[in-house]
Symmetry: D2
Subunit: 136 residues, 4 copies
């Protein structure tokens, strides 16, 4: 079984770069957040509504990222996202930042569902679990 990856385009703007002439290392993780949000949106889930109405937040509890090649100003990148593990409370995503054929960075992100009011762990909403399983 191959996992399909969601793909999201991202152009590099001045605010992503630094005086070294490349994209600053934490921006890749910002790009990955966008791709995860768009992936969930593509499945019909709105993180804003989830937080405000169902009091559910997805929080990142771990990130492992390796940087292979620098991205530069105006590069047109592709950010991928696929769910690699679905637990009761936790999710794992495999993500990449690519420029054409080249993988510039690859990461594993661990997320957990928490209650927006006290940050205590809560089970992943069933509707989301189902959609994620279908998408993975």
């Amino acid at each position: 079984m191959t996992h399909r990856a969601f793909i999201w385009p991202q152009r590099v703007y001045y605010q992503h770069t630094d005086a070294g002439g490349m994209v600053f290392h934490t921006r890749y993780l910002d790009f990955m957040e966008c791709a995860r949000t768009e992936f969930l949106a593509s499945l019909g889930f709105d993180l804003g509504a989830l937080a405000r109405r169902a009091h559910v937040l997805f929080v990142v509890h771990s990130a492992r990222i390796d940087y292979h090649k620098p991205a530069q100003l105006n590069d047109r990148l592709t950010i991928t996202a696929r769910v690699s593990r679905i637990g009761r409370v936790r999710l794992e995503f495999e993500q990449q930042v690519r420029r054409g054929e080249h993988v510039l960075a690859s990461a594993t992100l661990g997320l957990a569902c928490v209650d927006a009011r006290d940050y205590k762990p809560v089970a992943l909403p069933e509707a989301i679990r189902k959609k994620l399983q279908e998408a993975s």
Copy 2:
């Protein structure tokens, strides 16, 4: 004569919001930077190539922004950009952040062309001036 405005979509992600529950005020200016870059790209100009090959940077020398209504997580915004003045060295942009019919923020941005090596003012490249005049 009416000026046409370039339009660029922007979804609000977690990193744009703050603990007050709305988009942090400086992010609107970040969004406007993206829209200006995409506007120039739509005219065929690549800010990265301009900086690296022609040693020309566009720098912001002034910003005036008014915030009318807050944007929130997951809002799908529209960022507009139109050139309102074209000088020898300087450009002025009128920009808005909109959500549907509502104007959430409006700004006037003053930009200047400078040499990437010493930050001294240089004339706006003729090819860009021509395209901007046609587009305005």
Copy 3:
């Protein structure tokens, strides 16, 4: 009467700079936010507690900033903040970014007090008004 200005130090890190080799224009406004927060903290006010307990947010409703000279990586800047107007709901700050004797950027920031639950205007808390008047 001369207005005393609060002063806050800020070193320029990689994440503040861009591929043009200077500080990205919106970062100066981020620096100014830090200085305003530290100024209020120096008067005994905690923006976090104000938001969570008194449901009061200070929101920026306008910003006018002029950029005079670029700041660069590792510069040790000084950010100033002084209150230039105190209304019932609104406050105005005059702020500068300086490097030694040089003023790199100067700005006027308009802030308003709003209710953290519905973003409706509320009167500036009396204890804060009093302290700000003494400090200005």
Copy 4:
């Protein structure tokens, strides 16, 4: 032998938080960048001068971070940095974000020295290696 850790204070401002009411996950890595820079500055090294004069950049090639507890608006954090490995080209840092006794996040950052002009690996400058060995 115990490794001494460099310590750097960091207050949480609005721009570090998100609509979930906590510090956005990538900001912890931004805080760690500040602490590493201040650590090097405390040893007499200026990253700006290194880049501009010696054409040496430190780039992050890997980051592993675990988030234990959320930080919130106005928290006064402590960011630690200590060198855990010194190679010919590469350095490893162990870093934490703490609030009082509590460790909110802990990370291992892998850095490499590269030439600022072509991003090719270069040996860690000898003066820096010596100082880092003394400090670790």
